[in-house]
């Protein structure tokens, strides 16, 4: 993985000193809260219901064990002993004091981490495929390009006061495992006609109040022109995007209102007059960054593993874990292992400091010192030997981290909701917990197959409810928490927005209603058909009937 050189180190250090200066001016009255707020947000500091929240960047989700241990230490020393992984593959702490933040940032800098641009109206942390470097359908590892984007977007002089936030995702395979088309800009790495790296560029995706799936703006931008093309997109939006209404400021609204063709013309006009040479990253610099992401020194191993097979036969619990959480790796004898942060009845995405330390140990010992954060709010050990999976599983199980539910119905994405968030209308966590408890039967979950349930506590959609196969959105109805259900959303390469099935439900009605929809799916599905495929074939009606039938019958 990437290591800082003296320039990266200097930028991060200088950023901390800058923030220290800003905090001290806020305290002394040199900055008002209105002036300070965007500055603290661009350093990851929110003010939530009960306290500040600090969101630490995990660039493109990749960490080493030293970084994970430092995250654990920060949780212990400055917070309440836990952290929360987000759908942007960042980690947030819910209780730090503002006065401690410069010290926390210094601790992060020591392990080459930061909280720069994890919030605010700027270019946010770039996300990518959590299986980068492992998946066999990958054209090339997308992470060097993510790192190039990270550097280019860091403290950008022109793009730090944008109309609204700006999110970029990069994938490098036909299969989209990063919800690429829900992003302001989605990049799909392809081979250009000259055999060099190029990018299919999508623009104008986003969730929130008015969700859009990103549309293709360019079929193949050469890698050497990527930063220039992105500059042209951002420039067009920065000059034309709306600033009068926060809900209409994202680039998706501009793209939708101009139409993709007119927006493309606008971008190409800027692209034509850009000094492109200045934005061209030298080949040797691309090569330098790529070298950091070279495959680890894999051993020559047989494709199958006796230890893995024996454990699968001997222990049905391990066999279930292996079925659901252990994924094929392109290197024979290796696997990618998903650590679910969705224990039965738990808080999705939460992890304690002790658990972080354990994951760090396992990464160091078994996975070439690498651990990833997935946008589904789970962790991943990217490169483990099949031979080692029984041992890893045992140690995860001892720490409560071996829930065998990756991509199953209880692998729920949920935002912190009204328990923490000042924007939320309703709580997300208790509803997710109730559903997780109700569907605890793992045999039943496996029978249902892959189903993504996503929950947001408000229309800002941090819990990605629009693109959940089943989405749950918390709304406020005269001071009471209610929840709207959608079905048929999807964040993959056939991205789609879910359809609202009907009137919103009270908190205690949500889990039973989802249960009825799932039962209906088992009744109507064809052989081998996933939930999403069934919804696509039949539409939302059968599920609407299942959810509301009970009420209608009573009425």
């Amino acid at each position: 993985m990437y290591r800082y050189d003296e320039f990266d180190t200097a930028v991060v250090r200088e950023r901390i000193e800058e923030f220290r200066d800003q905090v001290s001016r806020r305290v002394s009255g040199g900055l008002t809260e209105d002036e300070f707020k965007p500055l603290r947000l661009m350093n990851g500091v929110y003010l939530q219901l009960h306290a500040y929240m600090l969101r630490v960047a995990v660039p493109y989700g990749t960490m080493n064990s030293g970084q994970m241990r430092r995250l654990a230490r920060i949780a212990r020393v400055y917070d309440k002993g836990y952290g929360h992984f987000t759908t942007r593959t960042n980690i947030q702490y819910n209780w730090p004091a503002l006065s401690d933040v410069p010290a926390i940032l210094s601790e992060l800098a020591e392990v080459e981490m930061h909280a720069i641009q994890t919030s605010g109206n700027c270019i946010r942390n770039v996300t990518t495929d959590v299986f980068a470097g492992c998946a066999d359908d990958e054209i090339e590892d997308p992470r060097p390009w993510c790192e190039i984007l990270r550097q280019w977007s860091t403290i950008h002089p022109e793009f730090s006061f944008l109309p609204r936030k700006f999110k970029i995702a990069v994938i490098a395979a036909p299969k989209d495992r990063a919800a690429m088309r829900t992003h302001d800009v989605g990049l799909q790495l392809i081979r250009g006609e000259d055999g060099e790296t190029a990018f299919r560029v999508f623009v104008g995706g986003g969730q929130g109040r008015i969700p859009h799936i990103a549309q293709e703006i360019a079929p193949a931008v050469p890698g050497r022109d990527l930063l220039a093309y992105l500059t042209a997109i951002l420039r067009a939006w920065n000059l034309l995007g709306r600033r009068d209404n926060i809900h209409k400021a994202r680039i998706k609204i501009l793209v939708a209102s101009l139409g993709i063709d007119a927006f493309r013309e606008e971008v190409e006009r800027h692209f034509a007059t850009l000094r492109r040479e200045d934005l061209r990253v030298p080949d040797e610099e691309v090569a330098r960054i790529r070298a950091y992401f070279a495959p680890p020194p894999f051993a020559d191993l047989p494709r199958t593993s006796g230890a893995f097979d024996r454990a699968s036969l001997a222990d049905p619990d391990f066999a279930r874990f292996a079925r659901n959480n252990v994924r094929r790796h392109r290197q024979p004898g290796y696997a990618t292992l998903i650590i679910s942060l969705k224990p039965q009845g738990g808080v999705p995405g939460d992890i304690t400091a002790d658990q972080m330390d354990l994951v760090a140990d396992l990464a160091e010992r078994f996975s070439f010192d690498e651990v990833r954060a997935a946008y589904e709010q789970n962790l991943v050990l990217p490169h483990v030997r099949l031979d080692d999976t029984p041992e890893i599983w045992r140690r995860l199980a001892e720490a409560g981290l071996a829930t065998p539910n990756a991509d199953l119905v209880t692998d729920i994405i949920a935002c912190p909701g009204l328990d923490y968030c000042s924007l939320a209308n309703a709580r997300s966590i208790p509803v997710a917990q109730a559903l997780s408890e109700q569907l605890a039967d793992l045999d039943y979950q496996e029978r249902l197959g892959p189903i993504r349930v996503n929950m947001s506590g408000c229309i800002n959609a941090c819990g990605h409810h629009h693109v959940g196969h089943i989405g749950v959105l918390g709304v406020d109805r005269k001071g009471e928490e209610y929840y709207q259900i959608t079905v048929g959303g999807s964040a993959d390469e056939q991205a789609a927005l879910g359809e609202i099935v009907g009137r919103s439900l009270a908190a205690d009605e949500v889990a039973p209603a989802v249960g009825r929809a799932l039962d209906r799916y088992l009744e109507v599905r064809r052989e081998g058909e996933t939930f999403l495929q069934t919804v696509r074939r039949l539409g939302a009606d059968p599920f609407r009937d299942a959810i509301y039938g009970a009420f209608n019958a009573v009425a």
Partner: protein, 89 residues
């Protein structure tokens, strides 16, 4: 009746203005004000930006938040209803 609430600048914790306008941590210690007195209390809190961040008024009824955001204000006053912060005060 109304109370003045905000978050404290130094650590972000929920605070209320007591009867004399000083910050207190518990809702039941908050000063309760009527009409113009509430607006005055709010403007006094706003004059202390190094303590009160974004102060605003909350309607209370019998010492409990009422009004549209009553549930949010209840959670603010009592902490998260679930989760990993509960075990550790």
């Amino acid at each position: 009746m109304k109370i003045v609430t905000a978050n404290r600048l130094s650590d972000g914790r929920v605070i209320y203005a007591d009867a004399s306008g000083d910050p207190v941590g518990a809702l039941d210690q908050a000063g309760r004000f009527d009409g113009d007195a509430a607006d005055l209390a709010l403007s006094q809190a706003a004059l202390r930006p190094a303590t009160f961040v974004n102060p605003y008024l909350v309607e209370v009824d019998g010492g409990r938040p009422s009004g549209r955001d009553r549930f949010k204000e209840l959670i603010r006053s009592q902490g998260p209803t679930v989760g990993n912060s509960l075990e550790r005060p």
